[in-house]
């Protein structure tokens, strides 16, 4: 093999490698990316049961219930137009409270309850997940309109 041919072979291999990376990534992303839904969308049945998704909205006032084991909570996540019951086993983040924004990561079960593996809340005064930023603003807007 001449040097020139070797170089050609290397270039072809490099291009194939990049294509393989892209194909692997696309294959992996097809069923492993978790989409973000609002309570209205989930209540309307837009989210598939059993798929990993993220649910973002406001924790409804007066909805947090603590169960007997001391580590499981139930609450309702709403966005002004829809509501989804959520169950979560774990330590809630420090700024997780009623009438405040949160994102739950988990899966929708067949009975319509969202089973959360993880809950994210507003982090501190200056930091807020972008999803929540929009959500809170929309929620505020909805409230103002109602008045």
């Amino acid at each position: 093999m001449k040097a020139k041919h070797q170089r050609l072979v290397l270039i072809v291999i490099a291009i194939v490698a990049v294509l393989v990376a892209v194909m692997l990534a696309m294959w992996g992303l097809r069923d492993r990316a978790s989409y973000f839904y609002t309570p209205t969308e989930v209540a309307a049945g837009k989210a598939a049961v059993g798929q990993p998704i993220r649910l973002g909205g406001m924790v409804e006032k007066g909805s947090i219930q603590r169960l007997g084991d001391g580590v499981t909570i139930r609450f309702r996540m709403g966005d002004g137009t829809g509501e989804v019951p959520v169950v979560y086993r774990g330590i809630t983040p420090d700024l997780f409270r009623e009438d405040s924004g949160a994102v739950a990561e988990g899966r929708l079960s067949a009975d319509g309850t969202f089973v959360a593996d993880n809950i994210l809340a507003k982090h501190d005064e200056r930091y807020m997940p972008p999803e929540l930023g929009n959500q809170a603003a929309e929620h505020q807007a909805a409230k103002t309109v109602e008045k």
Partner: protein, 634 residues
């Protein structure tokens, strides 16, 4: 006055950067005499940026509340260490630190790269000046850290408590030295393309920079991983958070570059490829900076930022990466081919290493940016996390670890594969470990395969030393052996802690006992306590395993400025792993939430990271020492 002095230094440095570019890329008559002045300018520019950074740290140390940045991010009642380190615990300050290291890297390039031919060095310094100018502009026009607040604030707003940790002192500067140290490789590559001198001399000049930056990146990532592990209280050591990926991507590219640069230095092969990798590596650093600093991401690292800044960084990014790759496209065709090599040879194995690293880099890159693209295109919001990265990148990483067993045993140019017979024993050990893991351990196949491959690598890493006189083996070979062994150590830690971790989440009354793995943990009490700028509830846990009692005190802290609650985990490290405890919320009936983990061998993850960095340091030190001795003999 202090703030104004810092600002003036920045303006002056920016003006010098312009001069540097003009001298380095000006008409031929200018370039002929430019070599000396450009070097001096680079050194002065580096000194000015260090001065500006020192001024910022000074106003933070004094808590000068007439400076906007201090008022927004600091507080007079903060411990001294966090006041000073708090200078980079915010957007503007951390960008200034970035630029300071960029300036320092340029100065160091001017001082230390004497062996490189003058034309290439001058062009490289010009490129470094061009990089610096853009980011000076970003600081001065979009992120001025020295802006005044009139009238001054009465009190500052405080620093995010999650950042008030010794980790803040080491993690950002270490990582930034790694990130930005790669700029030198980028500039050298651009310089060499401009002068069409891509050869083993370039590789030898570039290698210490890449090695140094790579060591710091490795340390920074390892330290960051441990910081997140104990500070966030989630018990995880890697979350595939976009910001973590932003530091992993330059590391992957730098690792590939580190290996291809050896081919270029030793055999004068892979010229175009090495130059391209050098450009990709720093491009990844810049993309990481964009991801973290533009506010497009949600993370502890993303400070409140307005979108204008994101656009500014994106424009800089597009310009530099675009310009570099245009230059590459124009010039790379003119590079002549290097010498050939056989299909079974050290070069071929290193090409394999590079391809796998590049594919992994591509997978991480696509996974990290996919949510941004999808949201821009369709408005759908989504996140890509561990399930994707583990499933797609994990097997490739293991394949790469297998290749690490093979590559160092092959000769340059071509090899009969004779030495590969030495791999039989390690391979048998690896297969045995996998078999044992499948029979005795819970968990996925990936972790089990990982454990087996780690066992094989742990032995084969030392095979390159077989048949050599150990005392006469060069330090760089020792460095390679130790770094490769470090990979095995890290892999064992990852696989074992993933499969064998025991977790208990419960609500307990004081006096109750909880069993987690081999540990019996007694929950004694909860009592209030206080620190310099926080109050806390502190649990007392007495953990025992057979004989002896260890006391752990996890806390739930409350900071007043800004008002924030954080959990402080308490960790007991023993030889076989870590007991990790977190105090949660009180339940109404007097019980407290407790989260306990027993994580066998988890410490090996960071120990391995430190070994990998140590291997790099040995290699760097060994080469520098030999260079010095050679210099003296002349």
């Amino acid at each position: 006055m202090i703030a104004e002095a810092g600002l003036a230094a920045l303006w002056l440095a920016a003006a010098l950067a312009i001069l540097q570019i003009v001298l380095a890329f000006g008409p031929k008559q200018v370039r002929l005499v430019a070599a000396g002045p450009v070097r001096s300018i680079a050194i002065v520019e580096g000194a000015l940026t260090v001065f500006a950074m020192a001024m910022l740290m000074w106003v933070f140390e004094r808590t000068d509340l007439s400076v906007l940045l201090v008022a927004e991010n600091s507080h007079s009642a903060k411990p001294w260490l966090y006041k000073v380190a708090g200078a980079w615990g915010n957007h503007e300050g951390s960008m200034l630190l970035w630029v300071t290291i960029l300036g320092l890297a340029g100065a160091a390039l001017a001082i230390f790269s004497r062996r490189l031919d003058t034309k290439t060095l001058t062009a490289a310094l010009g490129a470094q000046g061009a990089l610096a100018l853009g980011f000076f502009g970003f600081l001065l026009f979009a992120s001025n850290p020295f802006a005044r607040l009139n009238p001054p604030a009465f009190e500052g707003r405080g620093l995010n408590p999650l950042l008030q940790d010794p980790g803040l002192v080491f993690h950002p500067p270490t990582l930034y030295v790694g990130y930005v140290g790669l700029s030198v490789a980028f500039s050298l590559a651009v310089g060499a393309l401009l002068t069409s001198r891509v050869d083993s001399e370039l590789a030898k000049a570039m290698r210490p920079w890449v090695l140094g930056a790579w060591i710091m990146l490795t340390l920074g990532i390892t330290a960051g991983s441990y910081w997140a592990y104990y500070e966030l209280g989630w018990g995880g050591w890697w979350f595939w958070d976009p910001v973590e990926n932003a530091s992993l991507m330059p590391w992957l590219a730098a690792t590939a570059l580190l290996h291809s640069i050896n081919v270029l230095a030793a055999r004068d092969s892979l010229r175009a490829w090495t130059v391209m990798l050098a450009m990709i590596a720093f491009s990844m650093s810049m993309i990481g900076t964009f991801l973290v600093r533009s506010g497009v991401l949600t993370s502890v690292h993303a400070f409140a930022v307005d979108p204008e800044r994101g656009t500014f960084i994106l424009a800089l990014l597009a310009f530099y990466i675009g310009a570099a790759f245009t230059l590459f496209a124009l010039r790379s065709g003119k590079l002549s081919e290097g010498p050939r090599f056989e299909l079974v040879s050290r070069e071929a194995a290193l090409v394999g290493n590079n391809l796998l690293l590049t594919v992994i880099l591509g997978i991480v890159f696509i996974g990290t940016l996919y949510p941004l693209f999808i949201e821009a295109l369709t408005g759908d919001k989504l996140s890509v996390g561990a399930p994707y990265f583990n499933a797609v990148a994990g097997p490739l990483a293991l394949l790469l670890a297998l290749l690490v067993c093979v590559g160092p045993l092959l000769n340059w140019r071509g090899d009969s594969g004779e030495k590969l017979k030495r791999l039989i024993v390690p391979a048998l050990v690896g297969v045995t470990v996998v078999a044992i893991a499948i029979v005795t351990m819970p968990g996925g196949l990936l972790s089990k395969a990982g454990l087996g491959i780690a066992a094989m690598l742990a032995i084969s890493a030392f095979l390159p030393l077989v048949g050599r006189k150990l005392r006469r083996t060069p330090l760089s070979t020792w460095g390679m052996v130790i770094a490769h062994f470090g990979i095995a150590v890290t892999l064992v830690g990852m696989a074992a802690s993933t499969m064998l971790t025991k977790e208990v989440l419960t609500a307990a009354r004081p006096g109750e006992q909880v069993q987690v793995g081999p540990w019996l943990v007694e929950f004694k009490s909860v009592a209030p306590t206080a620190g310099p700028n926080w109050t806390a509830l502190e649990a007392e846990l007495r953990a025992s395993r057979g004989s002896g009692v260890t006391v752990l005190k996890p806390q739930a802290r409350y900071y007043t400025s800004p008002p924030t609650e954080t959990t402080e985990s308490a960790i007991k490290t023993v030889a076989s792993g870590q007991l990790y405890t977190v105090l949660g919320k009180p339940a109404e009936d007097g019980r407290w939430q407790l989260r306990l983990w027993w994580k066998p061998l988890v410490t090996l993850i960071w120990l391995g990271g430190a070994l990998i960095a140590l291997g790099g340091a040995l290699s760097l030190g060994g080469r520098a020492w030999r260079g010095l001795r050679k210099g003296r003999e002349r």
